[in-house]
């Protein structure tokens, strides 16, 4: 493969976060909302009751947190990866939903559904063997020198230093990095 391993690694981590937190958020939010008495009318009193019940439910908050995590991972991964790479890969969530429905909720999963899940996994595998980023030349070429991406504080020090040299003009995130690194070290 021509594309750098670091790029592939951080793309996979972000997609994993999306695949886990997307469906998890949906389920938690759905579960939380079902336990709340339905809004009877559009009267201000009923509306405020409804919102009070919704926003004091821990399940609802966990759901919102999960969906927020999902969307942040989505935004972050799209800052470097192709949409045509991320979108099919995120379909892996159908697999996770099926496994959870089978393992946790003891639902019956039809053979056709399992076949679909396997097919999605295979399709994602095929897409996964293409380069995650094909548009911004700075992104893919500069990443070759970068080591394993900065998931931990220590690793980010070197990555940032390299990036600010190789593609310094790219963004405020990069430009703002050196002071933050100094504070940490």
């Amino acid at each position: 493969m021509k594309f750098p391993a670091g790029l592939h690694f951080k793309t996979s981590v972000m997609i994993l976060l999306m695949v886990v937190f997307g469906p998890l958020g949906d389920i938690l939010l759905g579960k939380g909302m079902k336990h709340i008495p339905a809004m009877v009318s559009w009267a201000p009193r009923d509306i405020s009751h409804f919102f009070f019940a919704a926003f004091t439910s821990p399940t609802v908050w966990l759901g919102i947190g999960s969906l927020l995590t999902f969307f942040i991972a989505y935004m972050v991964v799209l800052s470097w990866a192709d949409y045509s790479y991320v979108q099919p890969a995120s379909a892996l969530s159908y697999g996770l939903i099926a496994v959870l429905a089978y393992g946790v909720l003891h639902e019956v999963i039809t053979p056709a559904r399992w076949a679909g899940v396997l097919m999605i996994c295979f399709g994602v595998l095929v897409v996964g063997h293409t380069s995650p980023s094909t548009t911004t030349s700075t992104t893919s070429s500069a990443r070759t020198s970068a080591t394993t991406p900065a998931t931990s504080g220590t690793a980010s020090t070197t990555t940032n230093a390299e990036d600010s040299v190789t593609n310094g003009a790219v963004s405020g995130v990069v430009r703002a990095a050196p002071p933050a690194t100094e504070r940490v070290s």
Binding site: I72, Y74, M75, V76, L78, S79, W80, D82, Y83, S84, Y85, V86, Q87, P88, A91, Y94, A98, I109, T110, A112, R113, W114, A115, G116, V117, L118, M119, I120, C121, F122, G123, V124, L125, V126, V127, G128, H129, T130, S131, T134, T135, T136, T138, T139, P149, A150, T151, G153, S156, T159, N160, D163, V170, S171, G172, V173, V174, A176, A177, A180
Partner: protein
């Protein structure tokens, strides 16, 4: 006819919105710092990009179109739309974002489409 319109209303705002968000993220540039503070700064920057808001608005439109369609049409109509959106997404990425969709990626996307369709068929 109504169903065809709903069909387009689900696929295009949904994937179109995601493409706009993708475009917004590309203008900000690659995230290289993963500490919470840097991520927060990245998000704050993203919220200043007009493409982001256009994208979110379109995604919301797609969501409401889906709800509308569910109340009018049969649920079985949803799955071909969902499955097709993967192919439309790859095409959109190629046309609007200049992504290189290689034959291999096309094959993968089409397999995912079929897989998603099968998942929905298997549910009913």
């Amino acid at each position: 006819m109504t169903q065809a319109i709903f069909f387009l209303l689900i696929i295009f705002p949904g994937t179109g919105g995601e493409i706009c968000v993708s475009r917004a993220m590309k203008t900000i540039g690659e995230v290289t710092d993963f500490r919470p503070r840097a991520i927060a700064r990245f998000i704050a920057r993203a919220l200043t990009v007009p493409w982001m808001w256009i994208g979110v608005a379109m995604m919301a439109m797609g969501f409401f179109a889906l709800l509308g369609m569910l109340s009018v049409a049969n649920v079985s109509f949803v799955f071909p739309a969902t499955a097709l959106s993967y192919a439309v997404g790859a095409l959109g990425g190629k046309i609007f974002l200049g992504e290189k969709v290689t034959p291999q990626r096309w094959v993968g996307v089409l397999i995912v489409c079929l897989g998603v369709a099968l998942v929905f068929i298997g549910k009913s």
